[in-house]
């Protein structure tokens, strides 16, 4: 049956005297740590701490709160702090970080440009994934640069995936070159598909 809802009292977000930075590190439960992350939302002096905790935090809801706070304070420092987590072994964290980075295109673009030369193939693949959906005018050019220069076939294929969506006819020369650099049949197939698409 329908009953009148009991009125609840609007309570303060945190007891006075609590220290969000401390709670974020050592809060006993996820709710405490989540609220601590929310309280650090407008405190750029804690960007380093938030980025660091992201790698330590096991609860997905706390990581989500940390990332939202960092996206709210988006800056080159936040982008630089976040890209380190692309090297994490935790696939869920990598994927959360990729989504967060896509929400700060102007700040992350220079950082991604530097990572095009990262020695780790996996990192460059993640860079290609992020660039593929990044709302930044330089994203197609950076993907084209990966296709023209990157020595690893999987990185080039990740970049090609992106260029199929956001590339243009000026990038076809680099794509046409791919089957010569990597003679595997799937590269020729993917390059042909991309060229057909970009040439219209």
């Amino acid at each position: 049956m329908l009953v009148r809802a009991r009125k609840t009292v609007e309570c303060a977000q945190e007891p006075s005297g609590s220290d969000p930075a401390r709670d974020l590190v050592s809060g006993a439960d996820a709710a405490t740590r989540r609220r601590a992350a929310q309280h650090l939302r407008d405190k750029p002096e804690h960007i380093g701490l938030l980025c660091e905790r992201l790698g330590e935090e096991s609860d997905a809801s706390v990581r989500a709160a940390i990332l939202t706070s960092l996206v709210r304070m988006k800056s080159p420092a936040v982008a630089a702090g976040l890209v380190g987590h692309l090297r994490s072994e935790n696939a869920a964290l990598r994927s959360e970080v990729k989504e967060a980075l896509q929400d700060m295109p102007d700040d992350v673009q220079p950082v991604l440009e530097r990572l095009l030369g990262d020695p780790d193939n996996d990192v460059r693949i993640f860079v290609a994934n992020i660039l593929s959906t990044l709302a930044h005018p330089r994203a197609p050019k950076l993907l084209a640069r990966l296709i023209a220069r990157d020595p690893h076939v999987n990185v080039c294929m990740a970049a090609l995936d992106g260029l199929m969506e956001i590339g243009d006819a000026s990038m076809t020369a680099a794509i046409a070159e791919l089957p010569r650099r990597f003679p595997e049949p799937f590269v020729a197939f993917a390059a042909t598909a991309a060229l057909n698409r970009l040439k219209g």
């Binding site: 049956m1 329908l2 009148r4 609007e10 989540r34 609860d59 990332l67 929400d103």
Partner: protein, 289 residues
């Protein structure tokens, strides 16, 4: 957003810089972003409020909005800037999903007599929460086994007051059968119908801003949240923030229903999509209370 500089009879022109300042302020307080398509709507409403307060310049008006201790003008401005078009049983396939899938799952191990909490936000003029109540009474076989609390909130004080009054025109009721109309409404004449008192009294209407964490602490322990066609007005960051707050308001395993054009996929990974009765809803995963 490019705003034309325009001479108005009573007030000084509002400059593009003024608009920019206004949009930024409104966004920070509500999470709502106005696109170019809304430029005329915003301009008209803003000028109306400036005139209504007797101000002669935007600057004078903006000072009131920001610094008035009662916050009354801020609330008036919010009321005028929000859109409240709705009707009974809108997107009712989600109500089918609620009684056929979500509630049976939520109450499977719950003892008789315990509470089931449902929240409609934004509730606008009340059509959605009343529709939920009617749908439950008509279609959920176990409705009598539980104490069902329906909470309803909106940022707009004016629509909340209208919802509490529960008076609707024919247009709002057009999707209701004659049987349901006669069962749950009293005709007032002049094409007006009032929802029956028992139903009005059973719903808790309140004013709340879903991007304000302090406001949201009132809505903890929810089993199902209807938050339809609101997040589309927010930018990415505000969407993330409000979904996080909604997450905290849900019980573990609780559900959020979004509008048919909305998706949780790009907002948060904290919810699992579930399909019930031809619709996708989002279930809170994990135990984070």
């Amino acid at each position: 957003m490019n705003m034309p500089q325009r001479k108005l009879p009573e007030i000084a022109p509002i400059t593009p810089q003024d608009y920019e300042k206004f949009f930024e302020f409104f966004y920070r307080k509500t999470g709502i972003v106005f696109t170019d398509k809304k430029a005329y709507f915003v301009e008209r409403r803003l000028v109306e409020r400036i005139q209504a307060t007797g101000c002669e310049t935007f600057r004078e008006y903006f000072a009131i909005v920001r610094f008035q201790s009662s916050g009354d003008e801020w609330q008036q401005l919010v009321n005028s800037m929000t859109v409240n078009e709705t009707y009974f049983f809108r997107e009712d396939y989600q109500f089918d999903a609620m009684v056929q899938g979500m509630l049976p799952e939520i109450t499977r191990d719950r003892r008789k007599g315990s509470a089931v909490r449902i929240w409609s936000t934004p509730c606008s003029t009340g059509e959605e929460p009343y529709s939920i109540a009617i749908h439950l009474l008509e279609n959920w076989k176990r409705a009598d086994d539980f104490d069902i609390e329906i909470h309803a909130s909106d940022i707009d004080t004016r629509v909340v007051a209208q919802a509490r009054r529960g008076i609707y025109g024919h247009r709002s009721l057009q999707r209701l059968s004659a049987t349901l109309r006669s069962k749950y409404f009293t005709a007032l004449g002049d094409d007006q119908f009032r929802i029956r008192e028992e139903l009005r009294d059973s719903i808790d209407f309140d004013v709340a801003n879903i991007v304000d964490p302090a406001n949201m602490t009132r809505f903890r322990g929810m089993d199902v949240i209807f938050c339809r066609n609101l997040l589309i007005y927010f930018d990415d960051v505000s969407r993330r923030e409000s979904v996080e707050l909604l997450y905290e308001c849900l019980n573990p395993g609780g559900f959020i229903c979004l509008g048919h054009s909305e998706s949780m996929a790009r907002i948060s990974s904290l919810f699992r999509p579930r399909k019930f009765a031809d619709t996708i809803v989002y279930q809170k995963v994990g135990s984070g209370a």
